[in-house]
Symmetry: C2
Subunit: 415 residues, 2 copies
């Protein structure tokens, strides 16, 4: 079998421990914030009937979706996002779910995209949504949770850009755009920051808008003031006690997707200006797709991979993000029980202590192993230590070592 | 779109919040134990090149695997287990991974099984493995971690059954079985507990073993004593301080899979005797499949769904396993800021406090919402409370309520 090429598919990734730990770190922080506001976990299957997903993400979506015929001749498709499955859940368990239904969902999705830097075919989506309420306070709560989440991850200079999709309905001066044309204009406006004023005007003209229309659209966008709806959300945000520097009205924010119906928002990190780290908004016409009636909803999707990239670039991961805090080495076969006992006492105090389990291996190699795994401390227990009732604690980063009683070690490691 | 039947595929499950929380609870407990011993997280993709997985799980596996051609005309397959991907990782990153490589992996796998009670087409696998060491202490550590894990989950009367695959090589009295025939015999012996002595003898004879062979095999199994290898593991287990009631030598334990080469183990819970809650063993010939050289390994797979079933049956989940600990209700539009402020102070103290965000909704309905979500406490802040500086804390389970200062509430909720 050894002539098989050992590789992963393009756009698919293995996460070795260092990377997997970082992902866990981010997920745990986010969950803590979500749950503190009463958002509850939801999981849906990786595979759905094709008809549940097909046609919900436009032509492009149907093309990028992983679809196939299963062994039972059913047409099935891999999860493409978490919103359509949420809509299915809302319809399927209508009588069981408390309303408003506040859920978070953190699962991989699959899209056969052209791979490029930062774009993958399997990636984690991380969504929160409040379904079943059109109170402006639920909009404000989403913004509030997003702010707390980015603070929790350690970001300092970030801002939530906020607009109302109502501001992006273009009519007046003798024209009114069809919904499709309007969305086309929104998608171009969405690039304002990237391609600038001239770029937008050019692209609008390319898409068949007259110079008058293009100028009108751009001027409308740039001169917009917050809607009454947005004013309510901003007042609610003050009640949530959110620092005013954390959010701002951004009339040029468009968000390309066509399903938004109210507030739209995006997160920008000043020191990592590669684009948004997440976005969302209110979408009152989407979740009801299966039940045939409108169900109000507002939500936000964290750009998980990009958050991790940004955190790596800004050094926001703790230095000591290792699994084991200490490696208890083994001196000789005779002393292995001493090492196990020490680890045991550390475990009781909730200190992750790995034991090096092969007494045949030289101490030097054991230390190398600790180093390779990034374990910051090593404990050594030789005959002398057994006699003195102490252990040697070696700090691999500062290259210091000292004999301590176990209680002292526990104190040091739990500091 | 509303004429689409809203349903999930057979064998695939949605996990609504109550169930999703239980899954999270188990995963978190298991991770704590795994990480305390230095096992590190690993994630591999859901899709692999078909050739990586094909032929690794026998004919049955090839049949049950979800395989298809992707948009780029590649033959791909969905993850079928986590051991073959582990073997791929070991070969692919040979120079980066520390050895021994101790990893845990908790991801869904997909098998197009005939669905029946407790058998699903998408289910979570939860594995720990130590790769790259043949020290008997690594065998013992796996047993130790399994014991600690089941204790952590709250199981009381459970036992690890242990045998050595060496004990299941059948030869003597004029016959020696080929490897295939031997595995056939092992698979029958595996059913000893289920179908009894007579059942095993009958089935062995059906499979073409002579009466002498069948009797010899069964007698050999029943009269076996621990191998030298097992004695070493048992001695190591004593050093780990594992209570002797937690494990026992079980010569009739066979484990049907053909790749084990040393110790084999299974967990049995006395009060939930529906079969094993997990199993594993040493498999020194498998992980090297891609690198073409033997790589020693020992591991254990937790029966995740069955553990949850057992914990539900034995009432091992905490009563108050809810997301929010308290719902802060909203009395009137004017008082919503007071409710938000109270929630905020609870959040600072790491208490999950959900705010009911629609002041138009009557208090009674807000209480019903708390009840439906299983939130144990409710806080009410009316005009009177604002004046007195207290809040009303309602205990929904005991149906009591009392006015407290916020500090008193915090004390009560963090108890």
């Amino acid at each position: 079998m050894s002539n098989i090429k050992v590789q992963t598919l393009k756009g698919f990734r293995d996460f070795l421990p260092t990377q997997a730990r970082r992902r866990q770190y981010v997920i745990n922080k986010l969950k803590q914030v979500f749950e503190s506001f009463g958002f509850e976990p939801l999981e849906t299957p990786a595979l759905e009937y094709e008809e549940i997903l097909l046609g919900k993400y436009g032509e492009e979506g149907d093309k990028l979706m992983y679809r196939f015929t299963d062994n039972g001749d059913r047409r099935v498709a891999l999860r493409y996002d978490q919103t359509v499955p949420l809509a299915r859940v809302i319809a399927q368990y209508a009588n069981e779910l408390p309303m408003p239904f506040k859920r978070y969902q953190i699962q991989p999705v699959w899209r056969a995209e052209n791979t490029q830097k930062g774009r993958f075919r399997e990636f984690l989506q991380c969504d929160i949504d409040t379904v079943g309420s059109n109170s402006c306070y639920t909009d404000a709560e989403i913004v509030c949770v997003v702010v707390k989440a980015f603070e929790k991850l350690g970001f300092r200079n970030f801002k939530i850009l906020i607009n109302d999709r109502e501001n992006l309905k273009f009519y007046g001066q003798g024209f009114e755009l069809s919904q499709d044309r309007n969305i086309t204009a929104v998608r171009v406006i969405d690039k304002l920051k990237k391609i600038g004023r001239e770029g937008v005007l050019d692209e609008l003209s390319e898409k068949g808008f007259t110079t008058e229309q293009a100028t009108f659209i751009l001027q409308k966008v740039e001169s917009t003031i917050p809607t009454e709806n947005l004013e309510k959300v901003f007042t609610a945000l003050e009640k949530f006690g959110i620092d005013k520097n954390r959010y701002e009205f951004s009339p040029t924010l468009a968000r390309g997707l066509d399903y938004y119906t109210g507030i739209i928002l995006e997160v920008e990190v000043e020191e990592y200006p590669v684009g948004s780290l997440g976005g969302g908004g209110r979408y009152d016409k989407l979740v009801g797709m299966f039940s045939g009636q409108d169900v109000p909803a507002v939500g936000f999707a964290f750009g998980f991979d990009r958050c991790i990239e940004a955190m790596e670039a800004l050094n926001l991961f703790p230095d000591d993000l290792t699994t084991a805090k200490v490696l208890v080495t083994v001196f000789t076969k005779e002393l292995i029980k001493n090492s196990i006992d020490v680890a045991d006492r550390l475990h009781v105090r909730d200190i992750n202590a790995e034991i090096y389990l092969d007494p045949e291996v030289k101490l030097e190699k054991q230390l190398k192993y600790a180093d390779q795994k990034g374990i910051p401390y090593v404990i050594i227990i030789g005959d002398e230590e057994v006699k003195s009732g102490k252990v040697v604690l070696k700090d691999l980063k500062n290259r210091t070592q000292e004999a301590f009683s176990l209680d002292e070690v526990i104190n040091k490691l739990t500091q």
